[in-house]
C-alpha cells in the first residue's frame, strides 16, 4: 500500500508538471525571456503550487507523525551559505540554457522525446560530479 501511494503521489506531481507547462522548455525559457517572447504562465504554476502547499503543510504538520513513518523529516540547515548561493546560481545558468529543471525533466521522460533523455543523463553526470567536487574541496581544506 505505501509504495502504491508513493507512485500515486509521483503521478499527481507529474500530471501537474505536464499540465502546467513545466515539462516544456520553450515555455519555461519564455517565462524568463522578459525582453523577448515573454510567457508569464509559470508564475501561475508557482503561485498555485506554493499556495496549496503552504495551506496544506499547516494542516498536515499539526498531526504528530506522517502516516507511514515515525517523524516529519524537515530540512534542518538554516544557513544561507556560499554553496547554497553558488549552487543556486549554477542551477539557474543550466536551467536558462536547457530549459529543464529536475522536476520538469523527469515527467518529461515519459513523453519519449530524446532530448529529455540527453538532458537527464547530463544532469545525473553533473550530480555525480558535484559529489566528487565536494569531496575534493573538503579534502583540500582538511
Amino acid at each position: 500500500m505505501p509504495l502504491f501511494i508513493a507512485s500515486l503521489v509521483g503521478l499527481i506531481f507529474g500530471l501537474g508538471i505536464s499540465l502546467s507547462g513545466m515539462a516544456n522548455p520553450a515555455k519555461v525559457i519564455n517565462f524568463f525571456d522578459l525582453a523577448g517572447t515573454w510567457d508569464p504562465s509559470l508564475a501561475f504554476v508557482m503561485g498555485g503550487a506554493v499556495t496549496v502547499t503552504a495551506i496544506g503543510y499547516r494542516w498536515v504538520l499539526k498531526g504528530p507523525t506522517p502516516v507511514f513513518g515515525k517523524e516529519f523529516s524537515m530540512p534542518s540547515v538554516k544557513a544561507i551559505d556560499r554553496p547554497l548561493l553558488a549552487g543556486a546560481a549554477t542551477f539557474g545558468v543550466g536551467w536558462g540554457i536547457a530549459g529543464f529543471c529536475p522536476g520538469g525533466a523527469l515527467p518529461a521522460l515519459g513523453t519519449g522525446v530524446p532530448q529529455v533523455f540527453v538532458f537527464v543523463m547530463a544532469m545525473l553526470a553533473g550530480m555525480w560530479a558535484a559529489g566528487k567536487l565536494r569531496s575534493w574541496l573538503t579534502n583540500r581544506s582538511a
Binding site: 509504495l3 501511494i5 508513493a6 507512485s7 509521483g10 503521478l11 499527481i12 506531481f13 507529474g14 499540465l19 502546467s20 515539462a23 516544456n24 525559457i29 519564455n30 524568463f32 525571456d33 522578459l34 525582453a35 523577448g36 510567457d39 508569464p40 504562465s41 504554476v45 498555485g48 506554493v50 496549496v52 502547499t53 503552504a54 503543510y57 498536515v60 498531526g63 506522517p66 502516516v67 538554516k78 547554497l84 549552487g87 543556486a88 546560481a89 549554477t90 542551477f91 539557474g92 536551467w95 536547457a98 530549459g99 529536475p102 522536476g103 520538469g104 523527469l106 515519459g110 529529455v116 538532458f119 547530463a122 544532469m123 545525473l124 553526470a125 553533473g126 550530480m127 560530479a129 558535484a130
Partner: protein, 145 residues
C-alpha cells in the same frame, strides 16, 4: 527571430500548480518528506538503501504521467525543445552540479521551501530565478545577436 513563442495559459498553469502542491502536501502527509525532485532523485540514484523503495515508486509515477495524460486526454504534454544537444548537455550538467550544492531545485526550494516560509529557500529561489533570467537574456539577446 524566435520561433518558439508559447501561448499564455493562466488557467492550465494554475491547475498544474495546484496539482503539484497537492502532491507535495500528500507526500508530507503520508511520508513526512519534502517533495524535492533533487533530493529524491539523488538519493535514489546515488545512495543505496532499502529506504529508497518509496523514491523509486514516486519517480516511476512521475515518469508515467505523460502516458496517463495520453490515455485520459488523447495527447501527451508538449515538449518543445528550442535548443540543441550541446545546450542540453551543458545545461543539464550545470543543473545537476548546481542543485546538489544548492541542496534543492524548483520543487524543493521554490515550492516546498517557500511554503514553509524558509528564508534559506527564499534566498536560493531568488538566486536561481535571477540567474536563469540573466542567462536567458544573454543567450537570447546578447549571444544570438
Amino acid at each position: 527571430m524566435n520561433d518558439f513563442a508559447t501561448s499564455f495559459t493562466p488557467l492550465q498553469s494554475l491547475s498544474g500548480g495546484i496539482l503539484i502542491g497537492a502532491a507535495a502536501v500528500l507526500l508530507m502527509h503520508y511520508y513526512g518528506r519534502i517533495f524535492g525532485a533533487t533530493g529524491i532523485l539523488s538519493a535514489a540514484v546515488f545512495q543505496r538503501g532499502a529506504d529508497n523503495r518509496w523514491r523509486y515508486a514516486l519517480l516511476l509515477g512521475m515518469v508515467c504521467a505523460p502516458l496517463v495524460m495520453l490515455m485520459a486526454t488523447g495527447s501527451m504534454p508538449e515538449v518543445s525543445v528550442p535548443v540543441g544537444y550541446p545546450a542540453l548537455i551543458l545545461g543539464g550538467f550545470l543543473v545537476g552540479l548546481g542543485v546538489m550544492f544548492g541542496n534543492g531545485c524548483t520543487s524543493g526550494h521554490g515550492v516546498c521551501g517557500l511554503a514553509r516560509f524558509s528564508v534559506r529557500s527564499l534566498a536560493a529561489t531568488l538566486t536561481f530565478m535571477a540567474s536563469t533570467a540573466i542567462t536567458v537574456f544573454i543567450v537570447r539577446h546578447v549571444l544570438a545577436g
